[in-house]
C-alpha cells in the first residue's frame, strides 16, 4: 500500500518525519515494506483491514495512535434532485450495492494541482479532471468508482449481469478481452461496457469531448472479483480493492465526494439516478467487558483507556459503566468479528511496544510427544553416528500412471504432479548428485513420508530410506544389510530375517514385513518398527564366556541361505548366536561359512553334530 505522507497530512496536522510515520504505522499494523522514497511510504497491507486501502483509513489509525485530531473531508452533495434517466437493472447475484449519479454540462480538462500531485506521488497516471477525480476518491476512500460518457450509450440503461459464453470487451487500456462465462459485467444494449469491480470499457470512456457522465460505484462479491481478475490476469488499483471485504456503505461516501469534486473542478449539474442495495450493514453492536480485556491483556488498567481509544477509532459508544462498554462498531470495519477484536484495537492503539513480558506461571502440562517422534530421533542419531548424511528431498514426482500413486488435482508443475511411493524415487536424485561430485563413499538417509492410495483412502506412511554407494555391488549389499542390522539391533529388534517377496527382498519380523531392500537401498516402515522397538539398550551385567566354532556348508547356487542360517540358530537352545562369516562360489556351488557360539564348551561337539545332521536332513546341504 503506497502512502504519500502529504496526502495523509490532508487529514491531520503533524511535523513527524517520514521515518517517524513509518515507525508508528509499523507498530499499528501497517509495516514498512520497502525503503522510504522521499515522502512516500510503501506499507504492507494484510487482507483484514479493507479500510486501510484508503488514505483516510491509514490517517485515521495514525491519528488515533498519535493522539492527533483527524479531519474527514466535508461532504456537500449528499442530497440531490432525482432524475432516473438511466434505468438500472440488476440480474446478478454478485451485486451488494450499486449507486449511480448523472452529471450534465461538465467541462473535461486538466485536474487541479493538488489532485495531480497526489495521484503522481501515489503512482497513478494523470488523465483528465473527471477520470483523475474518480481515481483520487478511490484512493482517498478505498472505494473504486468510475465515470462513463453518457452520450456514447446506445440505450439509456445499465444492466449488471453475468456474461454468457463468447462475450468480449475492449477495455480502457485498449486490449480486446474474451470474457469467461459468468463474469459480472455492466452492459448496455446487451453489450458489456465495463467488467464489474475490475476495469472499465473503452467505448463509453470519458474523453475531452465528454459533457454528460454517469458516475457509478458498486460493492460486489469479493470472491467472484478475485476469481475473475485472475482468469483475466488483470491486477490494478480497482481489483486490489474490490477483491477485499469492502464495506458497502463506503459507496455512498465515495460517490458524494466524487460529485463534490467534479462539480467544483469540472462544473455542471448533478442528479441522483437509480440505485440498488442488498446487504447487511457492517456495523455491529458489541460489548467490551473489563474482565475479557484484562484476561487477554493480562492487565486491569487498559479498561481505563478503552473508551478514549474506541472513540478515536470511530466506535460509537452507546453506554458504559465500571464493567463494560457497549459499542457500535464503525461502518468501515468489516474485520471485526468478536470481542477480542475490540480488545485487539485497544492494545494496538495503546501500543504493542508497551506490553510488558510476564512468564507463564502455570505448571507444565503432561507430556504428549508421540513415541514415533522419539523413535525417529533415535534412528537419525544412529545413522548419523554411523557416518550417514541426512537429507530432506522434494516428495513430488512426475505421474507415471501407477494407480497406487497419489496424483495432485491442481499442480502448476507438470514434472511434479504426484507424490512419491518410495523415498528411493527422490533420494536417488541426491545420490546421483553425490556420484557426479565423484564422492566415492556415499551413505545417505531420509526420514519422511511415502504416500499411496489404498482403495479410496490416501495414506501417508512415516518411512526411513537408506542409500549406499561404498564399492561394488557386493560391498554395497553387505553395507545395506549391515546398516539394517545396526538400526534394528540398536532398537532391540534382534529377531528379524530377510525373505524374498513381491517387493524383492523383504525385512521380516515373524510374519510381518517391516521393510524391504535391494543392493544399495533399504526402506523401513517406522510406525511398524516403533511398535517392536525397545528403548532400553541390551545391557549385560555379566560377561558371558562364549565358545565359538566355524562351519562351512555347500549349497546349490540358487538357494536362499539366509533361511538356513536362521534355521541353525534355532536348532538347539544352547546356541547363543549364529553369525555369517563369508561365502564363495566354487564348481557352481556356493560355500557359506558361519560361526556359532555357545556358553557350554563341553556341549560344542554335540551341537556341531546336531547342526550338521539336522541341517542336512532339512535342506540337503553338505558340510
Amino acid at each position: 500500500m503506497i502512502v504519500p505522507i502529504n496526502w495523509v497530512k490532508d487529514y491531520l496536522t503533524t511535523h513527524k518525519t517520514p521515518k517517524e510515520f513509518a515507525k508508528s504505522f509499523t507498530e499499528i499494523g501497517l509495516m514498512l515494506d520497502r525503503p522510504i522514497m522521499g515522502e512516500v511510504l510503501d506499507l504492507e497491507h494484510r487482507m483484514d483491514r479493507s479500510d486501510w486501502l484508503s488514505m483516510l483509513g491509514c490517517a485515521r489509525d495514525f491519528a488515533a495512535f498519535e493522539k492527533l485530531v483527524f479531519n474527514e473531508p466535508e461532504l456537500k452533495s449528499e442530497k440531490l434532485p432525482k432524475k432516473n434517466e438511466v434505468e438500472i437493472t440488476i440480474k446478478s447475484e454478485k451485486v451488494n450495492k450499486f449507486r449511480t449519479r448523472i452529471i450534465k454540462n461538465i467541462k473535461v480538462g486538466e485536474s487541479p494541482e493538488f489532485i495531480k500531485e497526489r495521484l503522481v506521488s501515489y503512482g497513478l497516471p494523470v488523465i483528465n479532471n473527471v477520470v483523475d477525480i474518480t481515481n483520487f476518491v478511490m484512493v482517498e476512500y478505498g472505494q473504486p468508482l468510475h465515470a462513463q460518457d453518457l452520450n456514447k450509450f446506445e440505450k439509456k440503461e445499465i444492466v449488471l449481469r453475468d456474461t454468457e459464453r463468447g462475450e468480449t470487451i475492449q477495455t480502457l487500456d485498449s486490449s480486446q478481452m474474451k470474457l469467461e462465462e459468468g463474469t459480472l459485467v455492466l452492459s448496455e444494449n446487451n453489450k458489456p461496457i465495463c467488467i464489474g469491480g475490475i476495469v472499465g470499457g473503452l467505448r463509453t470512456g470519458v474523453t475531452e469531448i465528454t459533457t454528460e457522465i454517469i458516475l457509478d460505484s458498486g460493492n460486489y462479491d469479493q470472491a467472484s472479483i478475485r476469481k475473475a481478475s485472475r482468469q483475466l490476469n488483470i491486477r490494478n488499483e480497482t481489483v486490489s480493492r474490490s477483491e477485499k471485504f469492502l464495506s458497502p456503505e463506503v459507496v455512498d461516501l465515495a460517490i458524494v465526494r466524487a460529485t463534490d469534486l467534479i462539480l467544483e473542478y469540472a462544473g455542471g449539474e448533478a442528479f441522483e439516478n437509480d440505485d440498488f442495495e442488498n446487504f447487511t450493514p457492517t456495523s455491529k453492536k458489541m460489548v467490551l467487558t473489563r474482565e475479557r480485556l484484562a484476561k487477554i491483556s493480562g492487565e486491569e488498567f487498559y479498561f481505563d483507556h478503552a473508551s478514549d481509544i474506541l472513540d478515536r477509532l470511530n466506535y460509537e459508544i452507546t453506554s458504559q459503566n465500571e464493567k463494560e462498554i457497549h459499542v457500535k462498531t464503525p461502518y468501515f470495519r468489516t474485520d471485526i468479528e468478536v470481542e477480542d477484536d475490540v480488545v485487539s484495537d485497544i492494545l494496538r492503539i495503546y501500543g504493542y511496544s508497551k506490553i510488558e513480558a510476564e512468564p507463564i506461571k502455570n505448571y507444565p502440562p503432561v507430556e504428549i510427544t508421540p513415541e514415533i517422534l522419539k523413535l525417529e530421533e533415535k534412528v537419525t542419531n544412529i545413522l548419523v553416528s554411523a557416518g550417514f548424511h541426512e537429507h530432506i528431498t522434494d516428495p513430488f514426482v512426475k505421474f507415471d500412471g501407477n494407480e497406487k500413486r497419489i496424483l495432485l488435482f491442481n499442480s502448476v508443475n507438470s514434472d511434479k504432479d504426484s507424490l512419491r511411493l518410495s523415498l528411493q524415487e527422490t533420494l536417488n536424485n541426491t545420490f546421483n548428485y553425490y556420484q557426479k561430485q565423484a564422492i566415492n563413499e556415499i551413505k545417505l538417509f531420509e526420514v519422511g513420508n511415502r504416500y499411496f492410495k489404498s482403495g479410496s483412502e490416501y495414506v501417508e506412511e512415516r518411512t526411513l530410506g537408506i542409500m549406499v554407494g561404498v564399492g561394488d555391488i557386493n560391498t554395497n549389499s553387505l553395507k545395506i544389510r549391515e546398516t539394517i542390522d545396526l538400526i534394528l539391533s540398536n532398537l532391540g529388534i534382534i529377531n528379524y530375517h530377510f525373505a524374498r517377496s513381491k517387493n524383492g527382498l523383504s525385512i521380516m519380523h515373524s510374519s510381518e514385513e517391516i521393510g524391504f531392500f535391494n543392493s544399495n537401498y533399504a526402506e523401513v516402515n517406522l510406525k511398524k518398527i516403533q511398535k517392536l522397538a525397545s528403548f532400553v539398550s541390551p545391557v549385560i551385567s555379566e560377561f558371558e564366556n562364549l565358545s565359538k566354532e566355524d562351519l562351512t556348508f555347500t549349497s546349490h547356487i540358487d538357494v536362499d541361505n539366509g533361511e538356513i542360517i536362521e534355521y541353525v540358530r534355532n536348532i538347539n537352545p544352547l546356541i547363543s548366536k549364529v553369525e555369517y562369516v563369508t561365502e564363495f562360489i566354487s564348481d557352481s556351488k556356493r560355500k557359506v561359512s558361519f560361526r556359532y557360539y555357545s556358553s557350554y564348551p563341553q556341549e560344542m561337539k554335540k551341537i556341531r553334530e546336531e547342526i550338521i545332521t539336522s541341517t542336512h536332513k532339512k535342506y540337503g546341504v553338505e558340510f
Partner: protein, 325 residues
C-alpha cells in the same frame, strides 16, 4: 660375609638386567620357583644361624620386595613408532540436515519450558487447514491457487497451523506443544520459493494465559536463537486464526535498525507471526474460549536455516544439492 656378598651381587646384577631384559625374563631370572636368584636366596634362610636369620632374614625380604616392585613397574605396552602429533581425518562423518539440526535446537528450548513436540498428517482436510483457523470459505487465504489439492476438500497442508488445530482438537487443555513440519504450496520453484518447505508452530492453552506471557515466551526464544543482545520488536499483525495478532521482528544486526540491503531497508527482519488464539478457533477445536485462553506462533524455517548455513538457494536445501564437508 657369604650371605651379605650374595645380596649385593644380586643387587648389582639386577641393576644391569633391568636395563636390558624384558619383564618376563627378569621375573624368571629372579623369581623362578626352581632357580630364581631371589628364590634361591630365600631358600637359604632356614639354614642360617639364629643370629644371622635375625639380621639377614629381614634384608633378604627387603631386597625381594624391592626387586619385585621394580619388575612390576615395567610397562609391557607396545612401543609406538608413528608420530602422534599428526591429526587424522575421520573417513566417515555423518551430519544431520540443517533443518533437522535447527528444529532440534528449537525443540530443546521449548522442552525446557514444558512443551511437548507434536505431529500430524501432511494430507489434511480443509476443516483443519482452513475452517478451524477461522478461515471461512471464499477467504482470500484459502485460494485454490496456492493450495495443492488431492481431491476437493483434501489437500496438502499449507501451513503448520493445521497441526495447531490438530493438537487443540485431539488433546485437552492445558496444552503446551511445538510442531515442526513440512508444508506445501502450489508454486513454481525458484531460488526463494519451493513447493514445500518447513514451518515451526507453537501453542499454549491454559487458564489465565495473556498476551504478556506470549511476549515473554517469544522474547526468551529469540534471545536463545539469536543471542542475548538481540533487539526485538513487537507490532500488530493480522492473521485470521489469532486476535490480537502480533508480528515479531529482530533488529537488523548489520545496520542496527537504520535500514540496509540485508533487511531490505526495513531496519528489522521479520521472524515470526503470533497472537492470542482466536475465540472462534478455540471454539471450533472444542475448547471453551471463556475458560481457556492461549497463544500460538508460527515461523518459516527455510530462510533462517539458509542464513545460518549460508545456503543461497532453497532448491539446494531440498534438492539434495547440499553435500557435507
Amino acid at each position: 660375609m657369604y650371605i651379605e656378598n650374595k645380596i649385593s651381587e644380586i643387587k648389582n646384577s639386577f641393576a644391569v638386567d633391568v636395563q636390558n631384559l624384558p619383564k618376563d625374563d627378569l621375573y624368571l631370572k629372579y623369581f623362578s620357583k626352581t632357580n630364581g636368584l631371589v628364590t634361591l636366596l630365600i631358600k637359604e634362610i632356614p639354614s642360617l644361624t639364629k643370629e644371622d636369620k635375625k639380621i639377614y632374614g629381614q634384608k633378604i625380604n627387603e631386597i625381594s620386595k624391592e626387586i619385585e616392585a621394580k619388575i612390576n613397574e615395567i610397562s609391557t605396552e607396545e612401543k609406538i613408532s608413528i608420530d602422534e602429533t599428526i591429526k587424522i581425518p575421520s573417513g566417515s562423518k555423518g551430519y544431520l540436515h540443517p533443518v533437522t539440526e535447527t528444529i532440534r535446537e528449537m525443540n530443546n528450548f521449548f522442552r525446557y519450558y514444558g512443551f511437548s513436540v507434536y505431529d500430524g498428517p501432511e494430507i489434511e482436510t480443509e476443516e483443519y487447514n482452513f475452517r478451524k483457523l477461522n478461515l471461512p470459505e471464499n477467504h482470500p487465504a484459502t485460494d485454490l491457487q496456492d493450495t495443492l489439492f488431492i481431491e476437493p476438500g483434501l489437500l496438502l497442508r499449507t501451513h503448520t497451523s493445521s497441526l495447531e488445530t490438530r493438537v487443540l482438537t485431539e488433546k485437552n487443555p492445558p496444552i503446551r506443544a511445538v510442531m515442526p513440519g513440512k508444508v506445501f504450496r502450489n508454486e513454481t520453484p525458484s531460488a526463494t520459493n519451493a513447493s514445500f518447505f518447513h514451518q515451526y508452530q507453537g501453542v499454549v492453552v491454559d487458564k489465565n494465559i495473556s498476551i504478556k506471557n506470549l511476549v515473554q515466551t517469544l522474547t526468551d526464544f529469540h534471545k536463545y536463537l539469536f543471542g542475548p543482545d538481540v533487539v526485538i520488536r513487537f507490532r500488530y499483525k493480522y492473521y485470521p486464526e489469532v486476535s490480537p495478532g502480533l508480528g515479531t521482528d529482530i533488529q537488523c544486526q548489520f545496520c542496527k535498525g537504520d535500514g540496509c540491503k540485508v533487511c531490505k531497508y526495513r531496519g528489522y527482519i521479520e521472524v515470526l507471526g503470533s497472537g492470542m488464539i482466536h475465540y472462534n478457533t478455540l471454539k471450533m477445536c472444542g475448547i471453551d474460549p471463556k475458560e481457556y485462553t492461549g497463544f500460538a506462533f508460527g515461523m518459516g524455517l527455510s530462510r533462517l536455516v539458509m542464513q545460518r548455513y549460508k545456503i543461497d538457494n532453497i532448491r539446494k536445501l531440498y534438492g539434495g544439492e547440499i553435500t557435507y564437508k
